[in-house]
């Protein structure tokens, strides 16, 4: 991993069109400003990881959709 030291107000540039600026330092929190093209999504890593994990669960299904639909409609009918 490349490690660079930066001060508040300084930036790093990644490729031609991504710029990350250290905006503020407060205690152990660093605020970053990110300029990137719209087609480059930027996420907080822990949020992204959760989505990946959830997508993995969604791709791991051993029921047919008919079975699933029946289970859900049965449970909805019971609640009524």
């Amino acid at each position: 991993m490349l490690i660079l030291a930066r001060k508040v107000g300084e930036s790093v540039v990644i490729g031609d069109n991504i710029e990350i600026t250290v905006v503020e330092l407060r205690g152990d929190v660093v605020r970053l400003g990110i300029n990137a093209p719209v087609d480059v999504p930027v996420y907080r890593k822990e949020i992204y990881d959760q989505i990946v994990k959830e997508n993995l669960v969604s791709s791991d299904v051993d029921l047919s959709l008919e079975e699933l639909g029946n289970m859900v409609s049965n449970s909805r009918n019971k609640k009524k």
């Binding site: 087609d39 999504p41 959830e54 669960v57 969604s58 029921l63 959709l65 639909g69 289970m71 859900v72």
Partner: protein, 147 residues
Amino acid sequence: MKVMTKRFGEITISSQDVIEFPQGIPGFAENKRFVLLKEGQGPFFWLQSLEDPSLAFVVTNPLFFAPDYRIKLHRSQLRDIELEDLTKGEVWVFVSIRRDPFRVTMNLQAPVLVNRENGLAKQVLLPPEEYPLQYEILRAEREEVAS
């Protein structure tokens, strides 16, 4: 075009039905092209990969279970699938099924937007405080018995 799937064998789909995720789906970056397949009469569909026969997600229309679900996005988030405004797109959400305890949830935090006019799609990540990652649509039977 013919597509190989693990669940249905070889199927024939129209090229107009292909949904392309230019940025991929988080966790599945290698898979860009999908098709929505119906199975049975329920509210659920398969989002089947055209590149990996064994990869398919369960998706549903979120409004079927959460009629108040409304997402707000910045125009820039729609630009990469060339969607002018949200009302012109389709919104789908991934469904997760867990065993032990048995739970069926849908991911309202990261819906899938589809622009049917050009077939482009993306999974968007909403601010986590807006909607849950695991919105319950079915809970374990035994809990219902107990309550």
